[in-house]
Each structure stands twice: as structure tokens, then as C-alpha cells.
Point group: C2
Chain length 705, copies 2
């Protein structure tokens, strides 16, 4: 990560050199110079080309060495073989930041990959903030910087956008010009050799011109710094992102595109959720949300009120609200009384408040003022159908009036197009999002409310769990030495014990008498299992007998199991039998596991055993480390949670004990990076306690890497 002030030099350069500048219109090296001038850049601009001469009225510098020392920004657009020499020359004069437009690096593999490594080394050594290679460039509307070869300059605005796809930059820029959407910063990340999305988040978090951050990414390479920066930024301002390559087909396309290896989509969902990033699936939603977030306050609760001059659209809005996490506000008695004072008797006073087709702007204004004052109302949607009598522009004024003073988010949905065009422009200019139909308005308010909830949830609390890490590591080292990736049975139990995890009471009995004695101590019923290091699949040799209720049964089971095992596996060493407590009736089986993600680290998983996980795919996920709140949620996010809570008078399971095991699993995942996957399966839980009945750990052995 380059020095902070070098990032500032990138975005607010006072001196800019374009390496590979050209006088031929249409050439990239010409477009960049023209764009800088066209954007109104007021700093010093140096076209660089060995041929010298003049470009766009500026004298050409023929050698990088002749540029001023401590240059703020060098933009490189030269054939690939000249990129490294140019970068070296820029480093030589102490350039603070560089954009490499040129393509042909990591994304093409081979030599390109090595050249990109060279870029990284140079930037590391000299602390250069470098964007690209293989990118479109960057714009900062606040100071008239357009260091890109894009067509057109975006308007200034409070939305920052960064994208891993240059093509998407081109498309969005063109779209934004047509839709009159403005930007603060506009950044094409390219191959992310040096600067990546985490750096952008960190920088834009402190950028006063930016109220909302939008991003398009195909992968995250440094999960840990992404999570840290994203979380910090999201607590300050909303971050809305598209992560593409979400699906099998998409990932295939992504991996050939910029050499990105798309992580599992579930992990990205968990990572975005953990860090508060709002994830959307399409570009239209990205900008709908950007406009909403950049102009309206967050709703402080779920209650939406809809004021409408027509029934049908009101129903559509109520339908949308009901499908969302919002609720249609129940208006207070006082509000209804106040509405009755001036609304016609045939109006609908509950929500949606239907002020009827003959409503004029005054009726809209009065109604809006009253509902906005109701403390039960958290957000307001104004629906207008362009009937013959409605005063469209005057109603827009009424909406603006209410929105300005009420401190609650106000959204407009002026249905139609032609007749509402002017009003819509008025509203947008006043910072009130206006939609043609209710559905997207509801979705925007819902997302803002969810962000509000995320932002205001209590600070996550993490457990201080101290396991006997050394004891666990001993087991792991032994397996590493033997080159055995799977840790099961005795040795896995050893790891459980090191972390104080509750396991079923178990004794090794070497004789039938010892077995009875153990059973008496544990208490009937018990389970007997063959104990032999040489027999891994116990049931294959009839090595398990459950529900043994008295001494006679235990004695006969012991003899039966050991004899049969000896007969079937003559070479095996039989230590005797394990005598184990029996799971009491009403016990539920759950699975707690984790899998380590290359980018984001351990991802914990929770679900009910058997078909619930396997067939119904009823599983919840969270990235480690888990807070207490996370453990609380992971248990309750599955559909079959009701089974744990207890049906028909059943007592709920001991959730505290269960969540404790989940927290320990999270700690274990952090303590033991050698463990690649782990599964407690089943964990037996009833209203009294939770125990880990079986466990399997899988190591990532060095020689597999």
C-alpha cells in the first residue's frame, strides 16, 4: 500500500504527465490529453513523446527525465514493451502516482504476468500509487481531472464509482450523461496490480465530495483488507456494489476475463453482509439506490406511509411494501382525526391514504404535512397518477416543501411519463427520488432501512475463548508428519478436549466387567462401540450397539462386539469397547462446520443434521470471527430453527450451550490455520445441554499447496 499522500496526488494532481501522448485525434494518447483539457484541468499538463512537437496546443516533453521532480501523476499509454521503462523513469523523478492504461499484462498470462509482477515490485519499492494496468483511467470532477480515454466528461455529483471492468465504465459513463447523474470520482481499476477496491474504499471514505460509493468487482484478492476497509467505510457512508461472476457460467467468463478467480458466491455474500456492503445484482439497481442514498435521510424504522390520488397504484405500492421488510404504517388516531378534518369523506384514511382522483396540490400538501408528523411514520411515498384534475407541478412543489422540513425520507412516484416529465425534473433537482412506478421506490426505501439497521446495530462483541492451542497443535503436527490430512476419532477428540468442548461421557473398557462398571457410572442406557485403532468403519464389523439398559445387556454386547470384530478383522488390535452415554430422547442433531476461503478465511456453517442440510439445503453461513450476535443469528437464520425452538409444547434446546460451541468453532478456525475444513457432526442438543458427538478435521498439508 503506497503512502496516503500519493493517493491524494493521484486524485488531486497539480502536475500531470501523459506518457505516450499523441497528436493524432482518435488515438488513446491524444484522447487523454484532450480529456484533461476538456475537463477544465487547471494544473500543469505535460504531454510526453520522444518525437517532441506540440499536442493540443501544449509543448511536448521528449523525455520523462525532463519532467518536474515529484510529479503528482503520470499516465502511461505506450506499447506494452515500453511500460516498465516508462515506469522506471517516472520512479526516477519521484512520481507519486501512475495510471497504466496499456493492456497485455496479467489478463493475457505468460510474459504479461511477469511484467505485471515487475510493476508491483517497482511500485512497492518507490511507494507509487498505481492504477491499472489495463484500465480506462480516472476522473475527479472536483478539480477537472479526466485522466482517461473515455468519451465525455461526467457531471460533478456526490456519487463515487469504481469498476474492475473498463467496458462497464464506458457504458455507465454514457448512461449517466444521458440520465444526468453526476459523479465525484470515477475510477477504472483494471488489473488492480497495486491499488484495489480496498484502497478506493479507504480513500473515498474520507473524501468529502463523496456521499455514496458504488463499485463493480469481479473478485477480491485481499479479503482481510477488503473486510476491514469496507466495514470502516460502511459505518460512515453507504457502499453499494455489484460482484459479478456469481454463478458457474459467470465465473467461467470472469476467470478468462481479467484472470480473476471468482470466490464462492456464498462467501462474498457473507463478506458483504459482515462488512455492511449493500450488494445488488444489476446496474439499474445500483443507480436507483445511489440516487436514493445520496439525496434522502435514512428511514429510522420500517413504517412506510403511501399517499395516493388513485386506488390501483396504491395497491401496487402496498403489495410491494408487503413483499419487502417494510411495513405499511398504522396511522395514529390523532393523525386520522386530523386527516378527517379536511379530506373528503370518501377518502381512505388508513394506509395507503387515498386522497382521491380529484385531489389538488393543496390536498396533497395538507395530507403530507399531517402524515409526516405522525411519529409512527418513518418514510413517505407520494404517489401521483396524472388524472385530469391533478396539479402535477404544484404537487411536486408540495412534496418538496414537506420533504425539506420533515426530516424523514420522502420518495415520489409520479406515474406515467410525458405529463409528469417536468415535475419529475423538479423533484430530482430538489433531491427527491422520483420513479415511474411504485416497485423500485419501495425497494430503495427498504434497502436504506436495512442499511440503517446495519449501521445502528450494537457494536459486535467477541468472546475471549482460550483453548489449549498447544495440545491441539500436537495432534496436527503428528498428522502433518504422517502426511495424513484427516483427523478423526481419538485424535480429533483430543482437539475437542483442548478447547473444552463438551463430548459424550466415554470410558474405555478392556473387559465386560469394566464395561458394566463404566456403564453403572455413566448411567443407563449406554452405547458400546468397538475400540480399535485398526477399525475405522465400526458399523462394518457390527461394532456399535445402542440402547443397552442393564448390566446383562452390556455384558453380552461387549462379548458379542469384541468376538465379532476379532473374527472379521483377525489382524486388528482390539483394545476393548468404548462405553458411551446415550443421547437422551428428544435430542436434536445439528451440524457445525467451517471451510476456509482463500480470500476471506474461515466461513462457518450451521444446520440441522441429515436431510435438512443435505436435501433441504437449509444452512446458514457467517465469516469468522463470529461475534455473540453472529452466533445468535446463525442459529436462527435457518428455516428449521422452529424445530430447535420446540414444537407443540416441547422445551427449546439450550441455545446458550449451542452458541457457545459455535463460538469455540470460530476460535478454533482462527487459532489453527492448518485446519482447512472442520465439522462437528452431529452435535447433540436438547433443553439441557449440547455435546459434540463426532468430529472430523481436514488439514491443508504443505505439499498440496
Amino acid at each position: 500500500m503506497p503512502a496516503k499522500d500519493n493517493l491524494h496526488a493521484l486524485f488531486y494532481p497539480e502536475t500531470v504527465a501523459v506518457i505516450g501522448a499523441s497528436s493524432a485525434p482518435g488515438k488513446v494518447g491524444n484522447t487523454i490529453v484532450a480529456n484533461m483539457i476538456g475537463a477544465g484541468y487547471r494544473g500543469k499538463l505535460f504531454p510526453v513523446n520522444p518525437k517532441g512537437g506540440e499536442i493540443e496546443g501544449l509543448a511536448v516533453v521528449s523525455d520523462i527525465a525532463d519532467l518536474p521532480r515529484g510529479l503528482d501523476l503520470g499516465v502511461i499509454s505506450v506499447p506494452r514493451q515500453f511500460v516498465i521503462p516508462s515506469l522506471e523513469a517516472l520512479a526516477e523523478i519521484g512520481a507519486k502516482s501512475v495510471i497504466v492504461i496499456t493492456a497485455g499484462f496479467k489478463e493475457v498470462g505468460g510474459e504479461g504476468y511477469h511484467l505485471e509482477q515487475k510493476i508491483i515490485e517497482l511500485c512497492d519499492k518507490h511507494g507509487i500509487a498505481l492504477l491499472g494496468p489495463n484500465c480506462l483511467g480516472m476522473m475527479n470532477t472536483a478539480v477537472g481531472v479526466n485522466a482517461s480515454f473515455a468519451a465525455g466528461h461526467p457531471n460533478p455529483g456526490s456519487i463515487a464509482f469504481f469498476s474492475q471492468s473498463g467496458a462497464l465504465c464506458v457504458a455507465i459513463l454514457d448512461w449517466a450523461l444521458g440520465e444526468n447523474v453526476g459523479f465525484s470520482k470515477f475510477v477504472s481499476l483494471g488489473n488492480k496490480a497495486v491499488l484495489d477496491e480496498a484502497d478506493m474504499l479507504e480513500y473515498l471514505n474520507n473524501d468529502e465530495d463523496t456521499r455514496v460509493i458504488l463499485g463493480y468487482i469481479e473478485n477480491v484478492e485481499h479479503g482481510e483488507s477488503f473486510l476491514r476497509q469496507a466495514r470502516k467505510t460502511c459505518l460512515n457512508k453507504p457502499v453499494i456494489m455489484i460482484k459479478s461472476g456469481t454463478t458457474a457460467a459467470g465465473a467461467k467468463a470472469a476467470s478468462s476475463h481479467t484472470g480473476a478467480i471468482a470466490g464462492s458466491d456464498q462467501t462474498y455474500t457473507a463478506a458483504f453482509h459482515k462488512s455492511g456492503v449493500i450488494r445488488v445484482g444489476d446496474v439499474a439497481s445500483l443507480f436507483n439506490l445511489a440516487q436514493a442514498f445520496s439525496s434522502q435521510p435514512l428511514p429510522k424504522g420500517p413504517n412506510l406511509v403511501v399517499v395516493t390520488n388513485s386506488g390501483g397504484p396504491g395497491i401496487l405500492a402496498a403489495d410491494s411494501a408487503d413483499r419487502s421488510h417494510l411495513t405499511m404504517a398504522g396511522l395514529s388516531q390523532k393523525t386520522i382525526q386530523r386527516l378527517q378534518e379536511f379530506l373528503p369523506s370518501y377518502a381512505a384514511f388508513y394506509n395507503p391514504v387515498d386522497i382521491i382522483g380529484d385531489a389538488d396540490a393543496k390536498r396533497y400538501r395538507q395530507t403530507l404535512d399531517v402524515v409526516a408528523e405522525d411519529p409512527m411514520v418513518h418514510s413517505i411515498m407520494v404517489l401521483l397518477t396524472p388524472t385530469a384534475t391533478v396539479e402535477i407541478e404544484k404537487t411536486a412543489e408540495a412534496v418538496i416543501h414537506t420533504a425539506k422540513k420533515c426530516g424523514k425520507p420522502v420518495f415520489a412516484c409520479f406515474m406515467g411519463k410525458n405529463r409528469v416529465r417536468k415535475a419529475r425534473l423538479m423533484l430530482m433537482e430538489a433531491g427527491i427520488p422520483c420513479y415511474a412506478f411504485p416497485e423500485p421506490a419501495v425497494r430503495s426505501i427498504e434497502t436504506m432501512y436495512e442499511y440503517y439497521l446495519w449501521k445502528h446495530r450494537p457494536e459486535p462483541k467477541y468472546a475471549r475463548i482460550k483453548g489449549d492451542k498447544e495440545r491441539a497443535l500436537k495432534v496436527i503436527r503428528k498428522h502433518e508428519q504422517r502426511n495424513e490430512p484427516e483427523i478423526v476419532e481419538f485424535e480429533a477428540q483430543e482437539v475437542l478436549k483442548a478447547y473444552g468442548l463438551p463430548t459424550p461421557q466415554t470410558s474405555l473398557a478392556r473387559s465386560s466387567d469394566e464395561a458394566v462398571a463404566a456403564a453403572e457410572e455413566i448411567g443407563y442406557p449406554v452405547v458400546l462401540k468397538i475400540a480399535s485403532p485398526d477399525i475405522s468403519h465400526k458399523s462394518d464389523v457390527g461394532g456399535v450397539k445402542v440402547n443397552l439398559n442393564d448390566a446383562a445387556e452390556v455384558m453380552s454386547a461387549f462379548k458379542d462386539i469384541t468376538a465379532r470384530a476379532q473374527r472379521m478383522r483377525q489382524e486388528a488390535y482390539i483394545a476393548g469397547c468404548l462405553v458411551q452415554e446415550m443421547a437422551p430422547p428428544g435430542v436434536k442433531e445439528v451440524i457445525i462446520g467451517f471451510k476456509r476461503d482463500e480470500q476471506f478465511g474461515p466461513m462457518l456453517m450451521f444446520g440441522l443434521g441429515g436431510i435438512y442440510v443435505e436435501i433441504m439445503k437449509d444452512i446458514s453461513f457467517k465469516l469468522a470471527p463470529l461475534s455473540y450476535q453472529d452466533a445468535f443469528e446463525i442459529v436462527r437464520e435457518i428455516k428449521s430453527y422452529m424445530l430447535l425452538k420446540g414444537l407443540k409444547g416441547e422445551e427449546p434446546v439450550n441455545f446458550v450451550a449451542l452458541e457457545e460451541i459455535i463460538m469455540i468453532m470460530s476460535q478454533l478456525a482462527l487459532d489453527l490455520p492448518q485446519v482447512w475444513e472442520a465439522e462437528f457432526n452431529p452435535v447433540l442438543v436438547n433443553h439441557e445441554r449440547a455435546i459434540v458427538a463426532d468430529v472430523r478435521l481436514t488439514l491443508h498439508l504443505k505439499d498440496e499447496q
Copy 2:
């Protein structure tokens, strides 16, 4: 339902009278006359007003009686109290069709309700095709009819639209004018006193100007005719509808709006599915789909190919496709070879076919021609990012060229706005849907493919199941006489037997000896249950013992059960015990039920017993009558279907036997309209057979109606 030619008179009137015509601009009675003239109506138009004079240059008729006999269309826009007299006068002169604009009928209740009844009676008597009351009017662009008080005339087009909400008509008309969307017919249904959505579907099915039918409804009152007409129409042309009031909040708004009682949303989903209607949730989707369906052929398979000049948007398209029911086509070896002949080596030859940012129109055309010829490709999406080098309009021409000759659906996604504006207009004019982003394009193609599948599925086959209806009716009549809505136990078994449903082998034993004899005949193990008409909850008196394995156990169970029952319920008559076969191990419990919907009749339900239905809500639904295909699907649409199919080497259940029971349930629902709800729970099914172990029928008693 009025005579067919009266509907034709409504849409193609040669004589139109406006009752309540006014010379005051802005008044509804004036707007209608002006709209008829403005739309270019060439028939005879009669403003009617007792004041006489002249309106919009036309001589006013002062009395309805003076209008020509057999008037094609009368449009009534008079105060409510004059509506019935006007309608009577129109009936008197033999008017064929009428539109009642005036509001204040069923939707306000009370007197309004009765007046609407009067309208219905008059129309029934005289066979008048009546639209409304409480509506905006109707337009037919083919003959310049605009019998509405809407602002503006829609352009002609091949899309028909009808709506139960007049406000939505207003909004959509204004939106369509702005978006340049044209209509064939545009109908505001109002209160649907006479003509409803089913009549519209029937008429529009045969309307040659209409290629796609769009509708907005809040409820369906006549389910049976809706299903029949919708199905017939959907086999001919696509019908796309919004059904609002889908959710609790929406339904509340709907019921106060036009007095509609919204049916259960699941029933509507099942009804739309059965009849082939494409259901959408929002207005934007309605028109996206309308444009796709009205201009492109249906894809004959799921395989989509994406041709793009940029990677990022290509990934977004592939992601969308993967989330849909489409698949990214695998291109044939031949296609890839042909592409390699002219595409640059760094292009991506798999799908998305990335022809790289420097692609010109020629490269697009060549690529499109090649992929369109691949028999594995069923639909084509052309993605274009407006890079500096791309030839935007020329590429649009290339797309049009390929689309015209290939016979496969072609969709364009020209990203951005300003720079692609012209090309987009060219494409739209040539009938190629063009979107700003890939997501909606994929959704449109997916929906068209699903419609293709629906349209080409085999003709549904229905079973001829003949139950002993009389035997079942006897039981029902007895309950009706006793005013007992619930049929359970013995008497419910009687209904099962009447329909030949397989039940567990059961004998009544009056003594322990008889019980043993019965058990020997059935085969061990057996179940014993107390047999007493006075004991309904058997387990409350310990009246059930399962898994009895020999004569001794049966004998002791008999004595135990009867003695205990006698002790606990001294007043009860104890007939003895029922001896029943025991469900074999590995049996699955499923639930088969139905519930009668007011509008759409019996809705069948299927799911796995216990938590699957109750907690996981894993239930599938179909409207009766079920075809064999429906029975096949209802079993396979639940998530837990895998459990029936068998896990880990388990044999699958006998699906034929299970589906047979479902078909019988469907027949029973049709045969016995007195039964309001029925549930076979559990139905026990294993690899050999399926039996109905318990049943409950609920009658709709007359005095409850």
C-alpha cells in the same frame, strides 16, 4: 354474457352516442366527445344532452329516444341518479353496447350496490355489452375510437391492455406516449358489472390487431370462465397480467377500492399457471415482456448465446442467464472453428463470445451469422459497450440483418444512453428489443422460453375415475341432517371406500380372541385401537398400542385398552378394538388435501407430513381437475421430493400408487361440492404401495353460507 356481435359493436361502433355530453371544456362529458373527434373517429357521433345546442361542432340530441335504433355504443357520463334511466332509454332503442363512466356503484356499497345490480339485470335482459361502471372508457386505435376521458390518444400497435384500475390506465397511457409504445385496444374495466377480464380475453383472442394481451386485475369473480378463456387464449397468444392485492396490505387496500375481495394469492398463482397466463409483479416488466413477445419469435430451447465486445458486461449477462431457467449454449466444434477463421486470436470463443473492444460492425455481423446457424443456439443476445472504436449504428444494422434471416429470437443490449440512442431507436423500429443493461433482456428471453414450454407441453390427460358417488353422498347427507360439518373415522372411511381408496387392513374385534384371529389374518406386527363412537381422541385414554408382534401381546393389549377405556369413560359404548396392519418400516408419510376456493374451486395440496408441511412450508398446489401431468408435477415440485425418491440406495416410493390417490382426491373434490376441505393425513407410502391411513372431510353446511 351478452351476444358476441354486441362486443364487436362496442369495439367497432359505427354509431356512438355520448349521454351527458357537455360543451364545457374540462368536463368529462366534453372530453369524451373531443377524444372521439381527436382520435379520428369516422362513424356517426351523437352528443346527447337535454339542453340541446351544439358541442364540438356537432348538433346535440336532446333525448335518447331520438337516437337511431340499434345504436352501436352509448357512453354514459351523467350523475349517478340518471344512469339507470339513461340505460333504460338506451335499451329501449336497442343499443348494443354501453360504457358507464359514472362512479358511485358497488365500490361505495349501500345504494350503489343495488344500483349496480339493476345495471346487471337490465343488461342481462337486453343482451347489452356493458363496460363499467366507474371506468375511464375504452379505445380502439384501429378505427379511431377513443370513448374515454383520458388525456391523449395512444399510438396504434399490437398490444391490447385492459385494467381494473382506471388510474393505472391513465398512468400507463401517459407512460406509453412517452415511450412510444402503441396499443390495439385499451380498456378500463371499472367495476366489471357485466364485461370482465374473461370476456376481454375471449374477444381479444380473435382480434387480429392484437399480438399480446396485457391486463391488470385486482380480483377474478368468475373463476371458471376466466380459466377457460385464459387457457384458450394463451394457446393462441401470450397473456401477461398483474394481479395486485397479492399481500395482506395490498388486499386490504384492494377490498376498499373497487369492492373486490382478493382471493388467496396462491390460488391465483395456481390459476395463472394452469391457464398459461404469465404473471408479473410490476408495470415495467409488463411492458418489457410485451415488447419482447410482440416483436420476436419464441425461443425453441433454453440455450442462449451472448456476443459481446467487452468482458464485464458479458459476465453480467452470463450471471443473469445462470440465475434464470436459460443455459449458456455450448457452441459446436464447427461453430468455434468457423469463428476462429476470422476472429482475432485473443477473442473468447466460448460463450459469452467476446469479440473484443476493437470489434467493428463487420466482426459483429460475421459472428452473429455464425452463431445463429449453430443448431445448439436457441436465442441470441447482442451486447455492445460504446467503446471508442465500435460502429454503433452499423452494428445495429448488422443485428437487424441477422435477426431478419435467422428465425431465432434476437435481443440487443446496447449499454449506455446518449451514444447508443440512435441505434436503439433503429433496433426498436426493426422490432428488436433493446435494453440498457443485460438483466431485463435475459428475463424477457426466459419468460418467452417458459411460455414456449407451456404452449408445447402435451395435451393434458385426465383420468376417468368413477367413484360410488351415491355411497359417499349418503354419508354427507347424514352429516348435513345432523348439522355436523366434520366427517371423520368410520364415516370418513366409508367415503374412502366409495372411491376405492386403499386403506390399511382393519378388522373390528369384539373380544381378545377375535383380536388375535384378526391379527393372524392381517399378519404381525399389528396396531390395536379402541373402537368406540364416543371416544374421539383415542390417545387420551391410552387407546392405541402399536407394534404388537404376537398373539400374547395382542391379547394383553386388547384387555388393557378396553379396561382402561371403560374405566376412564364410564358412559362410553365400547365396541371392542380395531386391529390394523402396521405401517412397514421405511414408509413415508405424506399429506394430500384440498381446499375449495370461492372463485377457482378446489385447490389440491401435497406435501410430506409433519414438519415438512408445518415448519418448512414445503407444499405444492394445483387447481382441480388434475391431469396425470399435474399429479406427476405436484409430487415433484416439493423440495423434499428427494426423500420420496429415496436416499442412499433406498428404493423410491411407488409414485404411481401415490399419484393415483391424488387423482382420486381431485375427482372427489369435483364430485362432492358439499365438501369444503379434505385431508388425507397421513397417506403412508413405500416402494410397494400407498394407503390412506387417516382422513378428515369438512362440509360447507347450508346455514353457514
